[in-house]
């Protein structure tokens, strides 16, 4: 979950009205914001990735104003038209990153905290709805350093400019290979010969999207007027991102002006609101509360939406930046938030159905009971394990190995096809505990195929100095005989098994069907696990035996 840092004094000021810090803290969770930590007036907030408008304190203040009834309804983004600001798009971008959009925000003041918030917003937008800059990316520029109109075009990789936070010119190739952002996001551009670039009317580089801005247009605390550009591979995605930024900048005190876009498939963004017709019946159907349509309107307005009753329906007005709202069901949630989740009374309706456990659960628990009755201790191991444990230490055949891709943990890379290796590892880790050690596990094992086979196995190991084949065979037969009345046979196996002592292992059969193996674990394997006592064990398939 993305995180945003807030200062309570600042947010109190942004919310305005007569609101205490405590009230703010109390209400935050009911906006769907989790307080991750608090240190005096500094708080860290986790917000849902579907609400990028909460990536700054401006956006959160906007939400708080609603729930705290300081300001209600849509905060309209008033885009003033002047015709002064323009980007022309060259069709060469079509194959790489076809869309650009933008806006101009003027006459604002920017302090350090605002810069920090806007930077956090950019990061989160890039990571979330920008899909790590692949889908869309954003650049904020000091408008007064730019000679309009701008051109969004492409250039070759030997083009040089001074990138953000540097003092010397660098070629695009060098930026991609030498800088952190280049290394992290260069993949977005693939290996195309030309790359996107935004230049001003003098040919100065403004931005190299989606990688880095030019140093020339850096936004500082002296900046009064900002130009925002968003480039994207989808038009809607570009405007989604722009709508969030516009709303935030307006909340931050800027006046918003139109940036005319022309060329290719591009057009000037309108950031229009949209309407959704809401049937008030849905509120009682979904939330289980009776509420008048006018109360619903109030609730919706508290969530910074607009709503008007028209006949039996409510017309809801959704600002452009609320693209998380798909349809009426999302409005039910808004009504619930406006109503206050804390005001929803839980209601326990009697069940008209009778609950039942799954057959596999029931049968497996019978096996578990018998195993415990025989003095075996239950263990649980991961089904995702390592090649070393599953195959190398046990000298088992790894030709049917099933791997997962790019595991972050070396110990969890292979799906187990047997439980015994896990049990041997358990014994290995407990060599300092008192013996006898008698363990069992029931669990899913995987077999290669199309589709991958999954079945439930039972494995038992017994470790103490006097154990032998007869002891483990007695346990095996007892487990299957108790309750299930299954008689199993052990037949000497022709298959060579390095896991077991030669001449002291067998295949387990029930009605001529092989269901597993049993034996004394060989000294070499015990050595591999650093076990210094005798160990016997078996593993059988329960699937197909006591359930399907």
């Amino acid at each position: 979950m993305p995180v945003v840092e807030l200062n309570l004094n600042r947010i109190k000021k942004l919310v305005s009205g007569n609101v205490t810090k405590k009230k703010i803290i109390d209400v935050l969770p009911f906006l769907g914001l989790d307080i991750e930590s608090q240190d005096g007036d500094e708080i860290r907030i986790e917000y849902s990735p579907n609400r990028p408008d909460y990536s700054t304190d401006f956006g959160i203040a906007l939400g708080l104003q609603g729930l705290l009834a300081v300001k209600k309804g849509v905060q309209k983004v008033n885009i003033k038209k002047t015709g002064k600001y323009e980007i022309n798009v060259d069709s060469s971008v079509n194959k790489i990153r076809p869309f650009v959009t933008g806006i101009v925000a003027k006459n604002g003041t920017i302090d350090d905290q605002t810069i920090k918030q806007l930077m956090n917003m950019q990061e989160d937008l890039h990571f979330g709805i920008g899909r790590k800059r692949k889908k869309s990316s954003i650049g904020l520029h000091d408008l007064d350093k730019i000679l309009l109109p701008l051109t969004y075009t492409t250039t070759t990789r030997d083009k040089s400019f001074i990138p953000l936070n540097e003092t010397k010119e660098k070629s695009i190739s060098d930026i991609l290979s030498e800088t952190d952002v280049g290394q992290n996001y260069g993949w977005v551009l693939g290996d195309s010969k030309n790359v996107p670039i935004i230049i001003d009317s003098e040919g100065n580089t403004v931005s190299f999207p989606p990688i880095i801005n030019a140093a020339l247009t850096t936004v500082t605390t002296k900046t009064k007027n900002i130009l925002v550009e968003v480039t994207s591979i989808e038009k809607d995605a570009a405007e989604d991102m722009l709508s969030v930024v516009s709303s935030i900048l307006q909340m931050a005190g800027f006046q918003i002006f139109e940036l005319k876009i022309s060329g290719g498939k591009n057009s000037t963004p309108k950031l229009n609101e949209r309407n959704i017709i809401y049937d008030p019946k849905l509120t009682s159907e979904i939330l289980g509360i009776e509420m008048s349509p006018s109360n619903m309107v109030t609730c919706l307005k508290k969530c910074r939406l607009d709503a008007i009753i028209k006949g039996k329906k409510i017309t809801c007005v959704i600002p452009r930046y609320r693209f998380d709202i798909f349809g009426p069901m999302d409005l039910v949630e808004e009504i619930a938030l406006g109503y206050g989740i804390e005001n929803l009374e839980p209601k326990l309706s009697p069940s008209t159905t009778i609950g039942q456990k799954d057959n596999v659960t029931i049968k497996t628990s019978v096996i578990t009971k018998t195993a415990v009755g025989l003095g075996l201790l239950e263990v649980v191991n991961s089904s995702l394990t390592s090649k070393k444990n599953l195959y190398e230490l046990t000298k088992r055949d790894s030709s049917q190995m099933i791997s997962v891709l790019d595991s972050k943990s070396q110990e969890h890379t292979i799906l187990r096809d047997s439980l015994l290796s896990g049990l041997l590892e358990n014994l290995s880790k407990n060599i300092h505990e008192t013996y006898p050690q008698k363990l069992f596990e029931t669990g899913v094992i995987f077999t290669k195929g199309k589709p991958i086979g999954e079945s439930i196995n039972l494995a038992v190991v017994m470790a103490h100095k006097d154990t032998n084949f007869s002891e483990i065979k007695a346990i095996l037969q007892s487990i299957l005989r108790t309750q299930f009345k299954i008689e199993c046979k052990t037949k000497s196996s022709s298959e060579s098994q390095e896991l077991f002592v030669k001449g002291k292992y067998a295949d387990v059969y029930v009605n001529e069907k092989k269901i597993g193996k049993i034996g004394e674990i060989s000294n070499e394997i015990l050595d591999n696990f650093r076990i210094r006592t005798s160990v016997v064990g078996f593993e059988i398939n329960l699937s197909g035996l006591i359930f399907d």
Binding site: D34, N50, I341, G355, Q356, T361, V372, L377, K408
Partner: protein
């Protein structure tokens, strides 16, 4: 305090009550117990403060090599007197018989005793009896010691002993360490005949034995499963390996969503799912994605096999296949996340998820089920907060107050499946869904701070928790 005595202890007490201060050897003889049994018994009695062990050392005197010879044949000076009792003899004659050092000692002592006179002649010195040689104190002492070992303090004539000690190898001083056992005051009062025969020390510690048992995590899983069943939910099971279609696409997770990336989800190498859904299901899900998320939905992405990241894929598939009008069902089992393992995170953990379809399916009903569920677990202080899940709307999470930690803890999530999820699969009614991770609850129950403990299988913990 009741005192139970072992047979060995009783025999030793009996013997010491008759005769105190016995050595272990003496006790062995008097009780007819082996010396090992005596030693063990003494140790037990000493720990119970019934017996005292007195350690002492004493010096004994016995004859040395020359002493033994003298005991048999007389001291050298006595041998000399025997030689000259019939008249004087020359030194040479005497020296022949009393060879070596014996000669000098014989002459010197006989002279000292005043028994002989020595005359010097031209042909050499002669020796003759001067006085009748009576038995000397040294001779008496040698006869007294004889072949025995006599405590030094029993020898009265200390001077004779001193003289003998000055002469080479006549007597030997031995320092003997000895242990004697005596009873303490309270042991003297014990009447051993009163102790019940065969009684044992019922208060003594016994050896530790460990019960075979089910795994604590399994116990919690079973407990939670029972509560779901009690609330009218029936269990369904599904596979751990799933197509991306059911794990993500059917749940309205766009194909470029970060959760679907390799670093969050385990994809299975070289595995492509086929025939996991009907052509209609695929068509409708594809349409839902394209219309709502505005992108080109790809079949190939949906065919990638993953280790399920939640149990919701099992319930949604069940709903799509069965389309029940009314049902309460749940799915429980392992789910996987490609995370770094830490005290908070596992790559594999257990999740439960229940769904309700039919009548009484409002958010308040869902909250009521939650409240009852936590009540059954003994958690009564709960509240609900809004939250976000990609496939439910509205969505809530339960916060449970933990008295021990003194804070609110996030437990199960819940919500109503989005129409964008249910409609494409032909499900018309609202579906309530709720569930969450089981390890979190088990951690509270067993007061663990590290979730990995459940999978460590540390026998010390499993046997004692």
């Amino acid at each position: 305090m009741s005192q139970v005595l072992h047979d060995i202890e009783k025999k030793i007490i009996d013997s010491l009550q008759k005769k105190s201060d016995q050595t272990p050897e003496q006790l062995s003889e008097s009780t007819e117990l082996s010396i090992d049994q005596i030693r063990r018994g003494i140790e037990w009695l000493r720990l119970k403060e019934f017996a005292k062990v007195n350690e002492s050392s004493r010096v004994t005197i016995s004859l040395g090599k020359n002493g033994i010879d003298s005991f048999k044949n007389g001291l050298p000076e006595r041998k000399l007197m025997d030689l000259i009792k019939d008249g004087s003899k020359s030194f040479e004659q005497v020296r022949e018989t009393l060879s070596g050092a014996g000669f000098n000692a014989a002459i010197a002592n006989a002279k000292k005793n005043g028994w002989v006179k020595i005359e010097k002649t031209d042909s050499g010195s002669t020796i003759s009896t001067k006085e009748k040689p009576v038995e000397t104190p040294e001779e008496k002492l040698i006869s007294l010691i004889a072949d025995k070992s006599i405590p030094e303090e029993q020898i009265e004539n200390k001077l004779a002993l001193k003289f003998l000690l000055q002469r080479p190898d006549y007597v030997i001083q031995n320092t003997e360490k000895s242990k004697t056992i005596s009873l303490t005051e309270k042991a003297l009062q014990i009447d051993t005949s009163l102790s019940d025969a065969g009684a044992i020390d019922v208060e003594a510690d016994a050896a530790l034995v460990y019960a075979a048992r089910t795994h604590p995590l399994k116990d919690t899983i079973d407990e939670i499963r029972e509560i779901f069943v009690k609330l009218g939910f029936s269990e369904i099971q599904g596979t751990l390996t799933q197509s991306s279609f059911w794990n993500f696409d059917a749940l309205f997770t766009p194909q470029d969503h970060p959760a679907r990336e390799l670093q969050d989800t385990f994809y299975i190498e070289n595995q492509k799912s086929e025939k996991h859904a009907t052509p209609t299901q695929i068509k409708q899900v594809s349409k839902s994605h394209s219309q709502n998320w505005h992108y080109d939905w790809k079949l190939s992405e949906s065919q990638k096999m993953v280790l399920r990241t939640h149990t919701t894929c099992v319930t949604i598939k069940y709903l799509a296949e069965q389309k029940p009008d009314e049902a309460r069902i749940f799915s429980l089992g392992r789910v996987f996340r490609n995370e770094k393992v830490s005290y908070k995170h596992l790559v594999e953990f257990n999740q439960i998820e229940g769904i309700v379809i039919g009548n009484n399916t409002t958010l308040r009903d869902l909250m009521g089920i939650q409240k009852e569920f936590y009540k059954q677990l003994g958690l009564t202080k709960i509240k609900f907060w809004p939250t976000f899940f990609p496939y439910t709307e509205p969505s809530l999470q339960t916060m449970v107050y933990n008295e021990k930690l003194g804070k609110w803890i996030e437990l199960f999530g819940m919500g109503i499946f989005r129409p964008e999820v249910t409609k494409p699969l032909g499900i018309d009614k609202p579906v309530l869904a709720w569930g969450g991770g089981i390890e979190r609850i088990a951690m509270l129950k067993y007061e663990l701070n590290d979730v990995r403990e459940f999978y460590n299988n540390n026998l010390n913990w499993l046997r004692t928790v």
